[in-house]
């Protein structure tokens, strides 16, 4: 198993205000910083921003598309929100293998994860990990 084999391909997502509004409805997070351009204009961000958990959903999608059920059963994610994601932003979500810890027949594989905008600005940084079988590596590829 090489690092290249375990690095999920990057995921590119475009944020829209309509998507933010859908996420606000489903999450119940109706904070006007996400929904009200007038209010958002009074904040340091100047305009509406995406929910942090929406971006977390993008990272989880990346890991799910690469590792399938293994991510759902054993995934761990620790992220810090570094900058706002605005409507119209094109986000690139990436995960790079950083370490492997043996668990006998399995191993916990650790990744550095990031989400950057079209200007390479940091939106989210952090770490992810999950447990994979050493033999099968529980391969799952959506792509």
């Amino acid at each position: 198993m090489t690092q290249a084999q375990n690095d999920p391909p990057v995921l590119v997502k475009e944020v829209t205000q309509a998507q933010i509004e859908r996420y606000a409805r489903v999450s119940g997070d109706l904070n006007p910083i996400h929904l009200d351009p007038g209010y958002a204009a009074t904040t340091p961000f100047g305009r509406t921003i995406a929910h942090g958990m929406l971006v977390v959903g993008f990272i989880s999608e990346l890991m799910t598309r690469r590792f399938g059920r293994s991510w759902l059963e054993s995934g761990q994610l620790r992220v810090r929100f570094k900058g706002p994601a605005y409507p119209g932003d094109r986000l690139t979500i990436a995960a790079v293998v950083r370490e492997r810890v043996s668990l006998g027949a399995q191993e916990r594989v650790g990744f550095g994860v990031s989400c950057r905008n079209q200007g390479n600005g940091e939106i989210v940084v952090g770490e992810a990990s999950l447990v994979l079988s050493r033999e099968s590596h529980q391969e799952h590829h959506d792509d």
Binding site: K13, Q19, R22, Y23, R25, V26, S27, G28, D29, N31, P32, I33, Y39, T43, H51, G52, M53, L54, V56, G57, F58, S60, E61, T64, R65, G68, R69, W71, L72, E73, S74, G75, Q76, L77, R78, V79, R80, F81, H140, D142
Partner: protein
């Protein structure tokens, strides 16, 4: 904060997947629920309980998936404030949450840091 029970209805899970535009095939071919649905639920319960004011920001988020959730399942979310600190004119509140299945098995452990603006 008191435990809150929610049912992961097919409609609500589908609406979440549409909202985040998650194209993972596993959700199209099974009744598995994206684990971030549970994270979203946990955060929603926190925000509702704490009556978070406008302008509150999300500083960090930890999620630990302990088991899969299925469409139609009922889950219980409980949480507790583990940090409540005024710093630099903002209030930093950390909350740890657990989302459990009906049999008590833990599905998700989470910790979030929210930052409440000074004037709130």
């Amino acid at each position: 904060m008191p435990p809150v029970e929610r049912r992961l209805t097919r409609e609500a899970v589908a609406e979440y997947i549409r909202a985040v535009e998650d194209a993972s095939t596993i959700y199209q071919t099974s009744d598995l629920v994206p684990p971030t649905v549970l994270g979203t639920l946990a955060l929603g319960v926190i925000l509702e309980h704490l009556r978070i004011p406008p302008g509150t920001l999300h500083g960090s988020q930890d999620l630990e998936f302990k088991g899969v959730a299925h469409v139609g399942q009922s889950v219980t979310c409980s949480g507790r404030v583990v940090q409540n600190q005024l710093r630099g004119g903002s209030r930093f509140i950390a909350v740890e949450s657990i989302v459990s299945a009906g049999d008590g098995g833990v599905l998700l452990r989470s910790r979030c840091l929210i930052i409440v603006p000074a004037e709130a």
